[in-house]
């Protein structure tokens, strides 16, 4: 049943994700710099960073357990799979049935749990603090994300991402107020999940309010590289899912290999726009105090639930 | 016939004999021996009844039917085991100086007479004699309750005497009324009060008189059953008397009193036929169960607590018999049996515990398991059994009673639920620390002879898991008889 085109699309999708994720990072950073009147780093800066980190030897705390060393790989693997099942180019993906929307959320959760455990492993003050905060954001963001996906899957009567995108993309255009609300919620969630302003600031370090940076404080060398790359993949995956859900046009259908050729530029275009938007959001917002993060995410959660109710009420 | 003669004569003679030698060293053994003989005789009697069925003897003055023969056996059995328990127990009391030679004599002789009177009350066919025997049993136990001559025991005995005396007087008036009705229905004379005859002509008896009579009889004998609000003598008498007496009071006397009520209920039902007696008993039973449960929750004296638990269980039986119907009656009879067994067992264990600790105040009895595992486990298992924990027999009867009540009288079940819950919390919450935990007392050098406890509990356990067919047929006949047929 696994068609060649499907396999091809699958491999292509993952490869593309791996390749483009750092680029997306660079793109966003560049725009942020421009918007903030700074001289921007090169678009390829993330690649350079990764390369440098891979070359460095990695320094490990004496009491670091195997868990600490394996965690980066697991996180990376999870993110790779996430990009594999998110219908970026085509909806005909052999891996799609392995994990539907719910499983995708589970996948992100798995990665989060591992990175948090790893952060607690060495037993430093910042590490455990970061782990706590990460899990805090997690348990608020996860259900919100799940609800967003639910409202989509209620519309399309399916929880498989591929099927959702197919239905949304290739049926006669309709306006879904529920999806609109869900979209806002999704934006909130993805900002939080990817440690962007206003929840966290990826560019800073040594702040008492840091979250993601505190998690990976003890990492260095190749491990750090993997984690950074995984973070980039995560951002990529989230963007792709968002685009697939709310702007599903241009994604290739099953059995139309040629369409993929058109799908790639479409995706790149959409990502570029999305990146700019993200940069804009990050620029016009100030980072909020940590205590307000729960409120922020609770809002997202409520919006998602409202989206569900709206769908139940209006059937749309 | 001979068997019945033996059953009645042995305790009487034993009582007389012990009145002479009751102070001797070996009096306890004699006491036990006589009780054993009586028990064997009653077994013989049982076999006869099982083989030949009910019969009346001596000009119908005495009779034996399934209902009373099983109570006779139960009475003699518990009488025997209690005598076994009393032998070492009272000797220790003697060593502690709480008893003296004369008091020992009084104790032994009165013990036998008490048993004898209960047996007479059970086997007599004449309501008048029934009354006489009940009164005599009361008188015998009054002296036993006050045997320690302490202020408290005197007070308890006094209350016991006055309250039960008054109660029994009501019962006498009730009996007179029954006689009046009998005269009208079937002519007076010697035979007019014979239960068997009355039961035959019950439907002819005047309902007006019988209803009045039953009111008096229920109140009168109910006082001895320990129904609230005429129960007040019971906790005092149980708490202050010597433990063997508490055991037989709870285990036997209450049953006999309830038996008397049942006999009267049969007549009243037959005459009135509107189920009013049943409803009265249900009401009494319910009030008793609930009130007793709440009494339980503030006790400090262990024997007093278990006395209240007896009140609760008598209430439950009264409730069951009030419900009527084959299942409820069966349950009531079963409950009579297991309650007698388990409660006396508990009093045995409590007796040893209190004797060892030198107090009946529960706060001062701790960690019995360390003092003596047999006493500890005996008390623990007995308590669980009396609280209706399966697989003990008490659970079987409570199971039947509750499930029947759920359909017959749904409104009553919440009260029962609350009562049983409160009773459980009260009793178990106090017994658990008594049995478990640390203690200041030294472990007993040699384990006390608690064979009776475990025999009783074993029987109760058996009745919960397996009721022998002959016993079952026996219960069923009795239940049918109570149902009036």
């Amino acid at each position: 049943m696994v068609s060649w085109t499907g396999l091809l699309a699958q491999i292509l999708a993952i490869a593309l994700a791996l390749a483009l994720a750092p680029l997306l990072m660079g793109w966003v950073n560049q725009w942020r710099a421009w918007l903030q009147n700074r001289r921007a780093p090169s678009l390829l800066q993330p690649y350079r960073t990764l390369h440098k980190l891979f070359h460095k030897e990695s320094v490990l705390a004496e009491n670091a357990s195997p868990l600490f060393r394996i965690a980066p790989y697991i996180v990376f693997g999870c993110m790779a799979l996430a990009c594999g099942i998110a219908p970026t180019l085509s909806t005909d993906l052999p891996l799609a049935p392995a994990a539907d929307a719910i499983a995708l959320v589970g996948l992100f959760a798995l990665a989060r749990v591992f990175i948090s455990l790893a952060a607690m492993d060495v037993g430093t003050a910042f590490g455990s603090l970061g782990a706590r905060r990460e899990m805090l954001i997690g348990f608020l963001a996860e259900p919100a994300l799940l609800m967003v996906l639910f409202s989509a899957s209620l519309i399309t009567q399916s929880t498989s991402l591929a099927r959702i995108v197919e239905t949304l993309a290739h049926q006669s255009f309709a306006i879904y107020p529920s999806l609109a609300v869900a979209g806002v919620a999704f934006t909130f969630v993805s900002l939080a999940e990817n440690a962007r302003v206003p929840v966290d600031n990826p560019a800073t370090h040594l702040e008492l309010t840091m979250i993601h940076e505190a998690l990976i404080l003890e990492y260095s060398g190749r491990h750090l590289a993997l984690i950074e790359w995984a973070a980039a993949l995560k951002l990529f995956a989230y963007s792709c899912i968002g685009l697939a859900l709310f702007f599903p046009w241009g994604v290739a259908e099953a059995g139309t290999p040629l369409a993929i050729l058109f799908a790639i530029p479409a995706l790149v275009l959409k990502l570029a726009v999305g990146g700019v938007l993200l940069a804009v959001i990050e620029t016009i917002n100030a980072k909020m105090r940590l205590f307000r993060v729960p409120e922020f995410l609770a809002t997202a959660f409520l919006l998602a639930v409202i989206a569900l109710l709206v769908h139940v009420l209006l059937g749309a | 016939m001979e068997a019945l003669a033996l059953v009645l004569a042995l305790p009487l003679l034993g009582g007389l004999a012990l009145a002479l030698w009751g102070a001797r060293e070996r009096a306890g053994d004699l006491n036990a021996a006589v009780s054993l003989a009586a028990f064997l005789a009653s077994v013989w009697l049982t076999l006869i009844v099982v083989r030949e069925g009910p019969f009346t003897v001596w000009g119908e003055w005495f009779f034996v039917d399934p209902l009373n023969v099983f109570l006779v056996t139960l009475t003699t059995f518990v009488g025997f085991t209690t005598a076994l328990f009393a032998r070492p127990y009272m000797r220790i009391e003697l060593d502690h100086g709480k008893m003296t030679g004369p008091r020992m004599r009084l104790f032994h002789s009165m013990y036998q007479l008490f048993i004898a009177m209960m047996l007479v009350a059970l086997t007599t066919n004449n309501l008048g004699i029934l009354w006489v025997a009940m009164e005599a049993a009361t008188l015998a136990t009054v002296l036993l309750v006050s045997v320690y001559r302490t202020a408290a025991s005197l007070e308890a005995a006094w209350k016991y005497f006055i309250l039960c005396g008054v109660g029994i007087a009501q019962a006498l008036f009730g009996t007179i009324l029954v006689y009046l009705a009998a005269e009208r229905a079937g002519g007076g004379g010697e035979g007019a009060l014979l239960w068997t005859r009355l039961a035959e002509i019950a439907h002819l008896l005047d309902p007006g008189i019988l209803s009045l009579a039953f009111a008096f009889l229920l109140l009168g004998y109910g006082t001895k059953v320990g129904l609230v609000p005429v129960h007040n003598w019971l906790p005092d008498a149980h708490a202050e008397g010597p433990t063997p007496i508490s055991a037989v009071l709870s285990g036997l006397l209450l049953n006999v009193a309830l038996y008397a009520v049942l006999r009267c209920k049969v007549l009243a039902d037959g005459a009135m036929g509107d189920g009013l007696p049943g409803r009265m008993m249900v009401g009494f039973g319910l009030i008793t169960v609930v009130t007793a449960a709440f009494f339980l929750s503030r006790q400090r004296d262990v024997k007093r607590m278990f006395a209240y638990s007896s009140i609760e269980h008598m209430g439950l039986m009264t409730f069951a018999f009030g419900l009527g119907g084959p299942i409820a009656n069966f349950a009531g009879l079963l409950h009579m049996t297991v309650h007698a067994l388990v409660k006396s067992a508990i009093f045995f264990a409590v007796g040893h515990a209190a004797q060892k600790a030198g107090t009946q105040v529960m706060e001062d009895i701790r960690g019995l398991l360390k003092v003596s595992p047999t006493v500890g486990w005996g008390l623990m298992l007995g308590t669980l059994a009396i609280l209706g924990m399966p697989p003990f027999g008490v659970f079987a009867s409570e199971f039947l009673i509750l499930t029947t009540a759920m359909r017959e009288l749904p409104w009553a079940t919440p009260f029962l639920l609350v009562a049983l819950g409160v009773a459980f919390a009260s009793i178990f919450g106090r017994v658990q620390p008594m049995v478990f935990g640390e203690t200041a007392l030294r472990p007993l050098a040699h384990p006390p002879a608690l064979v009776p406890v475990f025999v009783h509990l074993g029987l109760a356990l058996m009745l919960g898991l397996y009721i022998p067919p002959w016993l079952n047929t026996w219960y069923e006949q009795a239940a049918r008889m109570i149902a009036g047929g």
Binding site: - | E155, G165, V166, L193
Partner: protein, 219 residues
């Protein structure tokens, strides 16, 4: 003649009732005992009359029994008790005397009401007196409740038994003999035990005031 005798029964019955009231009213224990003796005598007389009228011979027996027991033995015993323990006065009661009397009246009415329908069914010649017997019983009961000392309480108890005996005699032509004997025996033993008790109580509390007997209770 017959009817005249029959009426005498009612006379004795009323005497019993009046005596019961008198007992409630009476404070002096000695007088109480006298009243009790009188009640016993009235009971005996009534029994004799009934026996004569109905020709139930065992009633003579029970009359004699009653006489020996309630007119001779028990009063004597009570006398000796109060002499030995020298209790003469029964100080205060639960309610004051008049209230008690009023309650007594009410009780009599209740008793009559209860007994009326039954009495009409009674075969006995003295049927009307059942209500009185019941009334006597209730009155003695009341007396037991209101009296604060042991001896009066006991006397109340005994007079209650009088009421019962009278009921047995009046309503039915006497219980079967053996039952009567048994009852009499119980009463005798009972009174003996009571005597013993009073001495024990006395030596424990050096008083017969049953207020001392209120220690066993739920705190």
């Amino acid at each position: 003649m017959e009817s005249l005798l029959a009426q005498t029964i009612n006379l004795f019955a009323v005497a019993l009732l009046v005596l019961a009231f008198a007992m409630i009213a009476q404070r002096r224990i000695l007088t109480l005992i006298h009243l009790y003796t009188l009640q016993g005598a009235a009971l005996v007389a009534a029994t004799l009359v009934v026996a004569h009228l109905t020709g139930q011979h065992h009633l003579y027996g029970s009359a004699i029994l009653t006489f020996v027991l309630k007119v001779v033995l028990i009063p004597v015993m009570l006398h000796r008790v109060i002499d030995r323990l020298n209790v003469r006065w029964d100080v205060e009661t639960l309610f004051n005397i008049p209230t008690t009397m009023l309650i007594g009246i009410v009780l009599v009415i209740v008793a009559f009401n209860l007994a009326a329908p039954i009495a009409s069914l009674s075969a006995s010649i003295a049927r009307g007196t059942l209500g009185i017997a019941l009334a006597c019983m209730l009155l003695s009961f009341l007396m037991m409740i209101v009296r604060a000392k042991a001896v009066p309480q006991v006397i109340g108890f005994l007079s209650m038994e009088n009421g019962l005996f009278f009921a047995a005699t009046a309503a039915t032509a006497g219980m079967p003999m053996i039952v009567e004997l048994g009852i009499a025996f119980d009463v005798l033993v009972g009174i003996l035990i009571l005597g013993v008790f009073m001495f024990q109580i006395r030596e424990q509390f050096d008083s017969l005031d049953i207020r001392h007997l209120e220690r066993l209770k739920e705190d």
